[in-house]
């Protein structure tokens, strides 16, 4: 008997080529460039279509700031050459056989599989939401189609009751609906018709946001902009004929124009793999290592996970640094690094070319201060500034040219830092809020 010289070709399969999947593919390729070239490693990415949407840009489409073409690029072109891209729907994930089956018939066996299939709106979960008024007086802005249809409607809307409603948590980018309310106030003010519009923000939460300091600041902003806040409103159905939004406990909010943020769900194949996800198809994931609970060779990242943190691009970005290292460790047979601390940051557009910036993690709520350099900034935390707004608008370039290619943003590490933050208000809060 001689020792086998056979070397196993390792296969990493990434499901989804959105923000998280694309960053992971590019980072892993950089790590395994030599192995890919030598034919001992293959990195495969799967997605349904070839349309990568810059999702933070969707918010600006209804107000005519961006056109659909400004937020869309081909998925394939965001991936480094050497990464294999397969365009197909996912039929199933067979965790026992370590194989993904695609709708195009292809089978993808894997040594490690990264689930980055994100989340999508599920308006069908709410009775009447997809009724006769859908895309007539009821719109979403979480899809290119919805945001574009809403832009057309706003262009000629004579005014009346504008209602913004979050159906249930979790949603993608939980500050986006508030930003929409702020931008709507500015939009109608600039058009000289703010007095003809009554803006109402109806949320299932018990405040404008979930973190105390941030909620106080945002509630103050809502008041200043004359936006009504309706809390603990759990939308159960929509009366299309009467144009009323009805809650489970029989309260109602009448509307002339309803901007809905429907329920969100993870990818359908997750529901078909027993033990992989929860009742909303979010993958049960270790919040620090990002390994799936179901099996050691399954990982999840970004909006696809159930980790107790905002579904946001910054989360996917910070997670990717930890997960790249953990995939390497897993393939090398080393223990995983529980290094993800829930770090997230978001710009919050407040209208009239102003924005807030918040930076937080699993344990610490958004605090005032300077970011990323303590005392210097240049960004201001939890306060409005024009520079924060310019940062948000410049972020689109950063997204395509720095974030997706998997490069590091100078001064911004994957782990949260208390440096530059004013700690006197640092009541440590749980990163979560209660369900209804």
């Amino acid at each position: 008997m001689h020792k086998s010289t056979y070397t196993h070709m390792k296969s990493v399969v990434i499901l989804g080529a959105g923000t998280a999947g694309t960053i992971m593919a590019n980072r892993l390729f950089r790590l395994y460039r030599a192995e890919v070239a030598a034919g001992t490693m293959r990195i495969t990415v799967v997605d349904l279509d070839d349309t990568h949407v810059y999702q933070p840009g969707l918010l600006f489409i209804p107000f005519g700031v961006y056109q659909p073409a400004d937020v869309v690029r081909p998925r394939r072109r965001q991936l480094t050459k050497g990464v294999r891209y397969v365009q197909s729907a996912i039929r199933s994930l067979d965790a026992d056989a370590n194989t993904v089956r695609l709708a195009n018939g292809e089978r993808l066996p894997y040594d490690a599989c990264i689930i980055a299939t994100g989340t999508a709106i599920a308006p069908e979960e709410t009775e009447g939401l997809l009724g006769a008024e859908w895309h007539k007086s009821i719109f979403d802005f979480y899809t290119v189609d919805g945001a574009t249809a809403l832009a057309k409607a706003l262009e000629s809307w004579p005014g009346g009751k504008l209602v913004i409603n979050v159906v249930e948590m979790p949603i993608k980018c939980p500050v986006a609906p508030l930003e929409f309310a702020f931008l709507a106030d500015a939009f109608f003010t600039k058009r000289g018709m703010r007095d003809k519009v009554e803006i109402t923000y109806a949320t299932p939460l018990d405040g404008a946001f979930t973190k105390p300091a941030c909620t106080r600041r945002l509630t103050h902003l809502l008041k200043g902009k004359r936006i009504n806040l309706v809390t603990e409103f759990n939308a159960g159905s929509v009366d299309n004929e009467g144009k009323r939004l009805l809650s489970w406990d029989d309260r109602e909010v009448p509307f002339d124009l309803l901007v809905t943020i429907p329920s969100h769900k993870g990818a359908a194949f997750i529901a078909d793999t027993p033990g992989l996800g929860n009742d909303m198809n979010f993958v049960l994931t270790d919040p620090h290592t990002l390994q799936a609970q179901l099996k050691p060779n399954l990982f999840a990242i970004g909006d696809a996970t159930n980790v107790p943190q905002s579904k946001a691009g910054s989360v996917a970005h910070f997670e990717a640094e930890i997960l790249t290292e953990n995939v390497r460790r897993f393939l090398a047979g080393e223990p995983l690094d529980p290094g993800y601390d829930g770090h997230a940051n978001c710009f919050i557009e407040t209208g009239f070319d102003q924005a807030l910036l918040i930076d937080f993690n699993y344990e610490v709520e958004p605090l005032p201060g300077k970011f990323p350099l303590p005392g210097i900034g240049p960004m201001t935390l939890l306060a409005e500034s024009r520079l924060n707004h310019l940062g948000k608008m410049a972020f689109r370039w950063v997204y395509w040219n720095v974030l997706l290619p998997g490069r590091d943003i100078p001064g911004v590490g994957p782990q949260f830092s208390m440096r530059g933050k004013q700690q006197d208000t640092a009541a440590v809060s749980a990163a979560c809020t209660e369900f209804a």
Partner: protein, 104 residues
């Protein structure tokens, strides 16, 4: 964590009154918490609270309102009638388990 005195018993609760040690709970305590929250404990209400508590003790996490509506035998609409405003939250509190966490 603070301590709530109930008769001669010391119960560990969080700032909002959710029990931190499910083993300190019994049915009479559940009745007392419900009364304080203005909830009438009918058989239907008890069915939900029992389902909630068992699910937590068996799986380590409290079911969401969606799961309650599907699996507890009580539809979402009725859940809101039994436990106004926050069925999952109230049922957890009455059932003596920590506050369910939904995340932003």
């Amino acid at each position: 964590m603070t301590t709530m005195l109930l008769g001669d018993r010391a119960i560990d609760v969080d700032a909002e009154g959710f029990l931190q040690k499910p083993e300190q709970w019994d049915r009479s305590l559940g009745e007392a918490i419900a009364a304080a929250a203005g909830v009438v404990m009918t058989d239907r209400a008890w069915a939900v609270v029992t389902f909630m508590r068992d699910a937590y003790l068996n799986t380590g996490t409290a079911p969401t309102i969606r799961t309650l509506g599907k699996d507890s035998g009580v539809q979402i609409k009725e859940l809101y009638q039994l436990f106004p405003k926050g069925p999952a939250k109230l049922a957890a509190k009455i059932g003596g388990i920590p506050k369910p966490r939904g995340c932003i």
